[in-house]
């Protein structure tokens, strides 16, 4: 009896058949999965637009318990309570800025994962650009000087005569 259903491998192009299939599978799985979030089903707001705003705000707020995670990522109890608070404030009609401002007014700028651009953080924000410019200037200066050195001034007639004398080719 003839096989009507082709084997799966027959459907794949030759390179994929050679173990490439697994890689493809993993690539697809990675692409469709997002990183793990801590938001629990009972926290999620019914209004998807409001929920999206809450998620965006949560990703900017630091979890004060496990300090290098956002509250959106953290399982800590305090992070959960902060997520709920963010959602309550949004539901009460607060704007995104107002919600962030409230949390900052309680915990300070440290609670923001992205430090604000202000007098106390100018060094933080501007130092990389400053160092880059200084470095670029240093490189430019260095190569200019080298260029100057590699092209010495042509010999003067006096020097030519002297050179000729020394190399024993007098009477040119």
């Amino acid at each position: 009896m003839r096989r009507i259903i082709p084997r799966a491998s027959a459907l794949l192009s030759p390179p994929l058949r050679r173990g490439g299939f697994l890689s493809l599978l993993f690539a697809v799985l990675f692409a469709i999965s997002s990183s793990a979030y801590a938001v629990e089903p009972d926290e999620v707001l019914k209004d998807p637009a409001l929920e999206a705003r809450a998620r965006a705000i949560s990703q900017e707020l630091r979890c004060l318990v496990c300090q290098n995670q956002s509250i959106d990522d953290s399982d800590a109890d305090l992070a959960r309570d902060l997520r709920v608070l963010v959602r309550e404030r949004l539901q009460a009609g607060d704007g995104d800025e107002a919600v962030l401002d409230y949390v900052v007014s309680r915990y300070g700028d440290f609670v923001l994962l992205k430090p604000p651009f202000k007098a106390t953080t100018y060094v933080l924000w501007l130092a990389p650009a400053f160092i880059l410019i200084v470095g670029a200037l240093a490189i430019v200066l260095f190569f200019r000087r080298r260029a100057g050195i590699s092209e010495p001034a042509p010999l003067t007639p006096e020097e030519r005569r002297r050179l000729a004398r020394l190399t024993g080719e007098e009477g040119t």
Binding site: L64, V65, Q67, D77, L78, D81, L82, V84, L85, V103, V104, S105, R106, Y107, G108, F110
Partner: protein, 179 residues
């Protein structure tokens, strides 16, 4: 001469950075400066802990220098400071108000106080961290020193042990009473 020493500049910059980061490593990242120092104590009205009639509200703090202590029966470090809080009460040094934070079961807090003693004037419960967030609390225990106008003057992060009282909180309470 100066040009010859120019090659030392990156090394010097590196040394400064190392010193800066080494200093940073000695600091406890959990001890954050509270932005609430010299700010009014947030307006709170917390329900009473089980077994007590009165809860805790910010109005209770007005007219006297007080401590407000965030604790929980789940909090191990709270056990460390607890005997000293009892002493504060026995010696009548300063009134301490309690906020029982995030108990899994509302009976856990009263149970804990029954076992170890109750040092608090009044206690409010904060099961959803509303008060804790309003106070910028990051962990328990934390203790706020509040003046008679209900303005926060200092925050102790971690257990209020006798050394902290002797060096900082005690003298501050004295000063606030006079001023």
């Amino acid at each position: 001469m100066i040009r010859r020493l120019l090659f030392l500049v990156p090394l010097a910059v590196f040394a400064v950075l190392v010193a800066y980061f080494a200093l940073g490593l000695t600091k406890d990242p959990r001890k954050l400066d509270s932005v609430l120092i010299n700010q009014p104590f947030p307006e709170l009205k917390l329900a009473a802990i089980e077994g007590r009639k009165e809860g805790f509200s910010t109005a209770d703090l007005r007219g006297q220098v007080t401590l407000v202590n965030i604790w929980g029966s789940w909090c191990a470090a709270c056990r460390i400071e607890h005997p000293f809080l009892m002493q504060l009460k026995e010696k009548n040094l300063v009134p301490v108000y309690g906020i029982d934070w995030r108990e899994k079961d509302p009976r856990d807090g009263p149970e804990w106080l029954k076992r170890f003693g109750d040092p608090y004037q009044r206690i409010g419960v904060d099961p959803e961290s509303k008060a804790a967030i309003a106070l910028g609390v990051t962990g328990a225990p934390e203790t706020f020193v509040v003046d008679r106008n209900a303005v926060i003057r200092y925050k102790v992060v971690g257990p209020l042990v006798p050394e902290v009282w002797d060096q900082t909180v005690g003298p501050l309470v004295e000063r606030l009473r006079k001023g």
